[in-house]
């Protein structure tokens, strides 16, 4: 009945495995094959049916997010279009389409660069492409203090480093929340080599 002894080892193993997995999954872009059923109105039937279908697919899918695969960034190609099925009652036809696409999915432990969108007393929000990341103030280094104003920001005590809107920061994903259609992340800049990369004021 020494369940805990082995389970502690198991949890250690799990942690190491997860760490290894996270290292391998540093690249958060994937090129995968997805399938979708596209409904097409009869007005599009004709010699260019296939093109119309692909256009509709791209319009429907690009930019969306599925919790499982992540954000679909771009469709690279269409693999297969199945036989269309005429729906009863309406004239719409449903085609099952297999397509290749690039998806973006952030993972826990990943480090990526993001652009600050909003600074709050409780932390700041940043965007890395389609995904939003929130860094709460307790994951901001202790020497950075919040300063309210028309441009709220976080500043170090000596004023050398400033985090404000449109800054680029490098952050680490601490956790992700995956809904059916939404991915939201929590990040930290408290570790080494994280924090502000470039300042918008430096450019100006």
């Amino acid at each position: 009945m020494r369940f805990l002894r082995s389970s502690l080892r198991r949890s250690e193993r799990k942690r190491r495995k997860r760490a290894r997995r996270e290292e391998r999954r540093e690249k958060m872009f994937f090129h995968i094959v997805l399938e979708r059923k596209i409904q097409l109105h009869p007005r599009y039937f004709g010699p260019h049916l296939r093109d119309k279908l692909v256009a509709k697919l791209m319009k429907e899918v690009e930019g969306t997010c599925s919790g499982r695969h992540g954000f679909v960034v771009a469709i690279t190609g269409v693999e297969d279009i199945g036989k269309g099925l005429i729906r009863e009652g309406t004239g719409f036809v449903t085609f099952p389409v297999k397509y290749q696409c690039v998806v973006f999915r952030p993972f826990k432990g990943e480090i990526l660069e993001a652009v600050v969108t909003m600074v709050n007393k409780m932390g700041f929000f940043a965007e890395a492409g389609p995904v939003q990341i929130f860094v709460s103030n307790h994951l901001i280094p202790d020497d950075m203090e919040y300063q309210a104003g028309d441009m709220p920001n976080y500043t170090t005590s000596d004023g050398s480093v400033k985090i404000q809107k449109d800054c680029e920061v490098r952050l680490k994903i601490m956790g992700t929340r995956v809904d059916a259609t939404e991915i939201f992340c929590i990040g930290t800049i408290k570790d080494d080599f994280l924090g502000v990369i470039s300042d918008p004021s430096a450019a100006s």
Partner: protein, 544 residues
Amino acid sequence: MSLEPFNRLVKLAARAFYDDITMKGDNQPKTGRGDNRGIAVVVLDALARLATVVSLTQLRQILHVLILFNISFLALLFRSKSGVSIHPTTSAGKYNMTKPRKNCNNSCCYLHLFHTQQKIFYRRQWVREEDLAKALKLHSKQLRRILRFFEEEKFVTRDHRKESAKGAKIFSAAVAAATGEGHQTGKEGEEKVKMHTHSYCCLDYAQIYDVVRYRIHKMKKKLKDELDSRNTVQTYVCPNCGKRYSAFDALQLISFTDDVFHCERCDGELVAESDKLAADEMGDGDDNRSRRREKLKDLLKRIEEQLNPLTTQLSRVKDLPVPDFGTLQQWEARASAAARGYGEIDPNDANKSSQVPGYGGTPMPSLGDTKVEVDLGGGVKEEAQPEGKPVKAKVLPPWMIKEGMVLTKEQRGETSVEADATQETTIDDKKQTDMMDDKSLKDEYYKAYYDAYRAKLQETQAIKQEVRVSASDDLFGTTESSHRQVGMKSKRGDDDNDDVEWEDDQPTVDTGNAGTSYKLAADLNMEAKESEEEEDDDIDWEEG
């Protein structure tokens, strides 16, 4: 003494964690006087104490009493490591007993007062809660609350069962620490049987070990995380409505008016919930943070040094086998079987004989027999048979079968080799706790065993052949006279033939099991008989 380090662990853990647990509810006033802190430690200590061997002083007292009454006895403290023990029989009046237990090195003293009383000094792993309350002079409600608390902490396992008053007495008989327990109330079923729920509790050493380690681990982890600021996901609480949010909900919480999070429902300002241990009194300034770190480090250091005896005890206990007492039923059955194995004629117990594994409805009143118990797979059968159902004939192993025993074919094991389990005695319930073993494993074991045995036999055939042949006649003569005559002649004829066949079949090596099981029975038959013949002339072999 495998229990001693575990009991010490229990005591240390009780003092480390539970010495200020009060059993009063939150609403009740806790006065300086009536708080009753530390009672939990007392209870744990008592349970640990009850699980150890009875003290020698008590033993001496009883011995003294017995000497006064001029009753001869023999008390033997015996250490037994294995599960199987074989004792030579003695004439009536002297009984030696071991109580072999799984991985148990504890000594057990067993005094038997023939015909009068019986005192078993037994370890009380399973304790009835009423008894414990009486022993500790606590109110049973209070004790029950404490035990409930410990059950939730996974220190203690409890078992509640409805028992009639008689059933409760069975338990007492099994424990039988005091005299006067032998209630000989006779008939069942005539009186109204009122079923009260009795609760029993037992220290669960394996879980205690794990739980204590887990607690310490969690404590240290919490402090370390705090120190490294690894509290990843921040939670926010609304002071108005008490709603909790996590940082993942931050998107829904932002307001455009000011830069604080607002509650979705009541629009109150959310407060970041910090579970920082050292944060509360201080503010949020910079140097306060470093002070907080210092405080955390100090806490960590103090934990290490104060829990040091506990951790050393844990490491000592780590490699020892954990005492395991099974469920209440198992333990009780073991205890009463141990009691009964020495001829305790107790009508109460006899009625409940089917409760006990190994008796299976066929009482064994023979006293002082050679009892070699190999409880292989008997437990499985036992579980399948609920109380009171008639028991099918048990298969006797070949070496049990003496010439002239009137046995059915089934009992001879001809039907299947695998059903070769006897429960003549259940002194050793070590195998019972292995009840969960696969039957297939057991079958392989039997086959391997018998193969090995057969091979060994065939090696020594030539030497013993003549001896056996000559001895067999004698044996036939003697056994014939002492056993029943029913069907004797035909049996004898069969046995004779068996001998002949057996000799003929010597050179051939039988590989199949079914066909040779009977032959093998004969072989082992002879072997067993020969060895025992000198010792046990007076043994009345009962049919199992």
